[in-house]
Symmetry: C2
Subunit: 333 residues, 2 copies
């Protein structure tokens, strides 16, 4: 019997239909294993030595004495060469007859996580991966100074089916002058839940998930990795801090290191169980003005199925793997 599950925050429904369920093996690609990748690709704009192929860098961790846009860096941030938003312009809405539009103002950066082409998040050293996370924090700190921005979203697209166009390990950052619908609905849902039950829904989730255990993949000292009850798609995962923290950039360095380890662990588990699946992850940190009611969290969305006409037309996800099954497979690795 299929189930309908309500998202505890947005109250949106998801269909869990495991009769067409597939075991992890069935999601695996049938292709031969990928060829090992080289650590340098001459045409790759993100490989060390190719700095001239990107717009001038915005920020970098680099060896003292080395010059911007030259080798010597280990994490490097550049503007997106084809930005979705422009840094200058007028964000005020204007009319075009009955319609409303504005200049597309915002920030669109690429965070190059390593100089080496083949150091994917599952292969990279923990030290390097922590440096990438430190750069996430540094960019969030820097962009907090741009008073035009309401929301900064960091995300990662891995694999073509997840929208990646370049192979070299990188994340992206988009700064928006508004709070977008996904976050708006989250914030409204948190507010509604708190008014009704007197506590943040993440508190309630942590309590129940830690007690039941069936959707928990791993708990660390300060974080929980789990498969959300109303996951929209197979093998979705979330990382929640065990105590409220509004902004990712507030994490003390020791906590950040623990987060980095858990994130790599989550990606390695997905890699092992689903054989290097395409995925996105999205890091949610408090929009400006919402730090009080917001808990930072990260959501991982493996791209094992395709949203088709039903999902586009309804907004309802059909998930063929119960989150409890996903958590079991992933915790057994």
């Amino acid at each position: 019997m299929p189930e309908i599950r309500w998202d505890i925050i947005t109250e949106e429904r998801v269909i869990i239909a495991t009769e067409r369920s597939r075991r992890p093996h069935d999601f695996k690609k049938t292709d031969a294993p990928a060829e090992p990748k080289p650590d340098f690709v001459a045409s790759c704009p993100f490989c060390v030595g190719n700095e001239s192929l990107t717009p001038p860098e915005v920020d970098a961790f680099r060896t003292t004495g080395t010059q911007p846009d030259a080798p010597g860096w280990w994490v490097r941030v550049v503007p997106n060469k084809f930005p979705a938003l422009a840094s200058e312009g007028d964000p005020a809405p204007r009319s075009a007859g009955i319609y409303t539009l504005s200049d597309g103002v915002g920030v669109h950066e690429v965070l190059i996580e390593t100089p080496r082409h083949n150091e994917t998040p599952v292969a990279v050293s923990m030290q390097q991966w922590i440096e990438a996370m430190r750069m996430y924090q540094r960019r969030l700190h820097a962009l907090a100074q741009d008073v035009r921005l309401k929301t900064v979203l960091i995300f990662r697209n891995e694999g073509r089916a997840a929208g990646a166009s370049l192979e070299h390990p990188h994340s992206q950052l988009v700064g928006l002058t508004f709070v977008p619908p996904v976050l708006q609905r989250h914030i409204e849902g948190v507010h509604r839940y708190r008014s009704r039950y007197g506590r943040h829904p993440f508190e309630a989730i942590l309590e129940q998930e830690l007690r039941e255990g069936v959707r928990v993949v791993r708990q660390t000292e300060r974080f929980l990795l789990y498969a959300p009850f109303a996951s929209r798609a197979p093998y979705e995962l979330a990382i929640l801090p065990l105590e409220p923290i509004g902004r990712f950039e507030q994490l003390p360095d020791e906590t950040l290191q623990e987060f980095a380890q858990l994130l790599q662990d989550a990606l390695r588990r997905l890699h092992a169980v689903l054989s290097d699946p395409p995925y996105n992850y999205m890091l949610f940190t408090a929009p400006n003005g919402y730090a009080d009611e917001f808990w930072m969290h990260l959501r991982i969305a493996p791209r094992l199925s395709i949203d088709a006409g039903f999902e586009l037309g309804s907004g309802v996800g059909i998930n063929i793997t119960a989150p409890e099954d996903a958590a079991r497979y992933l915790s057994e690795v």
Copy 2:
């Protein structure tokens, strides 16, 4: 300069970023042209003669004297073999600790549009295509009797990148016991617009689109085919009736024929300009209890780009083709 455009109904924003714009040619597949398909495939459960490969039929247009689940049909409706929802069960929500769930009750049918494997919507005869549309109406009429259902969504997935798993021309129908978020937001938006401006937003859209013409692909006696101002993705199209009609199944047969012709024309234009792209279309008819404020309409979403971490994490679309450009290319065919 990228633009942000507001959807006039939902008020959600879309980014139109044409600096990475591609002309229609750049969306075309680089593969060799597809092999011509046969009109019968022995293993295809939807081909005539293979009726035993599907669950027992729910409805069909068939020659008098022929038996259900045997040849003699020209449009056939069967339950989905792997239904997302079950026909029996208790749709009432129940608690599981802090969470809410229910049985997944609803209807999930497959509408086989033709007995012949290779009669895609762009290749099929108009007479056959009109019969498929008549079956849409017939199923909507029949399911209106099921008082449990609030919403019936008919949609079509064409091509693997649009979520199609079977090649034989077919649509699907899902009946839900609730109004899903996409329709809920549409209805709320219509209500808000009407309270504010005293008319349905589709009236305002028709007036401005017909006056400006830049987003119009084609107008017929009773319908408009156009590229919506705030299209979330390249080459999105919509078909709107010029006068308010709440339910698709209310269309008189002559009007239905005109609709069928315009829909095939729209799909042929996309096929010609974008070289047989994957696409979804979604037919929106009034949910039960909303006939007053609802206008039926159809939305076509070619799947030329992939929603990545930004779109998943924000709910904001990035569209690299201005709707005005899409309309120009499509109307020039």
